[in-house]
Symmetry: C2
Subunit: 363 residues, 2 copies
């Protein structure tokens, strides 16, 4: 096949969700994929799924992708570097500085190692959950370092591109600081916030709206996985949490003495800083543009939302985002549609004329 | 008209978003709505919008709805109680204990006052943003107290029902504690988390995924409004933030000494408490049931999402929830569809057979 960049055999070590997904994607492009797993039954399952073949004596992989848990990544990478002295080795662990430092300390040949991190979600499950498409459109960090040349690292970028991912280069320390900020700290904060609900009355949680659901959604993540991630990236996560605690102390002090001079100003400053921060998050296609929101009532039965979206399409309006919200104890849903601000008025009018109930408009 | 519960004239004081929306909804049911606002131009606009008529000498409203900012709610309610000695008075402020306490201290006749709180979102904007439908399916808290009889308070429940809302009874203190937990504390936490992004590199925010967007979305709320709300409910918000800070201190201590005995267990405990808390939040129709998630790739052009949802409807599967995510720098979207776990496998297979790319499955 010609529409691929990866050429020679790729060896995948660890046949969990990521390893199997990478294998399936490469097999679709007819790449020779050699699978290995310390568990014979896991390996058999992955081969059965078509993610690759078993290793044979004399295999000479060009590229080795280590897909094992973060705490065993460095020793497995080191063993692969030794066993295959001509191969480039990468890994997919969600922290990057720890494994690199460990490898250097072990004296491993890091001129053939470059870490990477496909940010492809963390659906639970092993080989059986593997899918060739999970990398499409997702960022794939490639963590360059001084010990490897740009040219030598190229096969990892080819791998990311062949799998449909968006390669992003940053060094290991910057990667770890970045994911601490955009992923690990939000996980801790969401968990701490959700934990406050444990003692809530049923009446209190019946008032929960989209705000609470959004802010706590990721608090349902698996603790086993996140203890490993947070433990491995403690050095980057802790400083951000220290700074957040300082800000929190400021808000608490202001609320404890809410009528004292300066208290309301301190609260306003914290809220404004939040406005500034959220504006930094890129929206669709990397833009930070804000959209107008239209809230539309829909009957809660199959097909109603599709009918709404079909009509929006017929009106020639591109929907920039969509969220659904459900009403307590009612067979009704609320669809929040984000559109370009200049489209909002026409869309509200046209949908109203077609009989849709508009429950809110905001910019 | 017979399909209404509210009968006699309703006087609305304050012609902002909520006042105008209540007026529009009551006018649709042919209720006589008397509008008042301290600003003549705001009043004129609201009357022009059809939200009601101007007051006339001799008006005898049955029910008065005070829709002014929280910090002036109590004096306005007191003035209305004096001016209309036969009317029941309610308000729609988002805190309830403060106004009630103030009224009692003022010596107002609270046997004719009952506070309420329609939880109808906080879209910005005044009269021009008013819509008759914003209360449909939303909770509407009615904050009973010892000074008023159940029967006397009945017109407020009728108002909520006529507007399509779901009346929920709780006393003022319980209301304030509840909204602190499900709304005010999440607002503070989202703002503090988002504030950490202010100094982030572009590369770091380019890695932002749905988790960060969800946890920080409400941090874009208007500081002016929230300073008032948090200030008015400081007594209920502060204790929850104190408890959250204690938990945060525990996580920080564990991360600062991540290899010390017990540290990882402390982190796991915090994450598990988050699991327990998020499980308390009611989902669709008040159930806390968890759904299976299917992630499906969609081309980012008008009509594609509608086509997907139409096909899901054709397959007879009811979608329980839907979220859209956009890929960095790519003309592609990811639709996360929540369905009953027993529907997931069939749906994935059928959609795959119809050519849709499934990028992930999880329960």
């Amino acid at each position: 096949m010609t529409d691929r960049r990866v050429q020679g055999p790729v060896r995948i070590v660890g046949a969990g969700l990521l390893g199997v997904s990478i294998g399936l994607a490469l097999r679709q492009k007819d790449v020779d994929v050699i699978l290995h797993d310390s568990s014979p039954s896991t390996l058999t399952l992955a081969v059965d799924y078509g993610a690759g073949r078993r290793a044979q004596p004399g295999d000479e992989p060009d590229l080795i992708v280590v897909c094992v848990p973060p705490d065993v990544t460095a020793p497995v990478v080191a063993a692969e570097l030794l066993a295959f002295p001509n191969a480039l080795v990468t890994d997919v662990a969600s922290v990057k500085l720890g494994p690199l430092t460990e490898l250097v300390e072990m004296g491993a040949d890091v001129s053939r190692y470059i870490g990477s991190h496909p940010m492809a979600g963390r659906e639970r499950g092993g080989a059986a959950s593997g899918r060739a498409d999970i990398f499409v459109g997702r960022p794939w960090v490639i963590a360059g370092h001084d010990g490897i040349t740009y040219r030598r690292a190229n096969p990892v970028e080819n791998l990311a591109l062949d799998l449909g991912a968006v390669p992003i280069e940053m060094d290991a320390a910057e990667h770890d600081r970045s994911v601490a900020l955009v992923s690990h700290v939000p996980q801790v904060v969401a968990s701490l916030l959700a934990a406050r609900l444990s003692g809530a009355t049923d009446a209190a949680v019946s008032l929960a709206g989209a705000g609470l659901r959004d802010t706590t959604r990721i608090a349902s993540s698996a603790p086993e996985l996140w203890v490993q991630i947070l433990g491995a990236n403690a050095g980057a996560v802790a400083p951000i949490l220290h700074a957040l605690r300082d800000d929190l102390d400021g808000v608490i002090a202001a609320l404890d003495a809410v009528d004292a001079p300066g208290s309301r100003r301190a609260i306003a400053t914290a809220l404004s800083a939040g406005n500034d921060g959220v504006a930094r998050i890129p929206g669709k296609h990397g833009t930070a543009k804000r959209f107008a929101q239209l809230t539309i009532l829909i009957d809660d039965r199959p097909g109603e939302l599709a009918r709404l979206l079909t009509e929006i399409g017929e009106l020639g309006v591109n929907m920039e985002d969509l969220r659904l919200e459900h009403s307590p104890n009612a067979q009704i849903g609320l669809a929040e549609i984000a559109v370009l601000p200049e489209k909002e008025e026409t869309l509200a009018r046209e949908l109203g004329a077609r009989g849709w109930k508009i429950a809110g408009v905001s910019e």
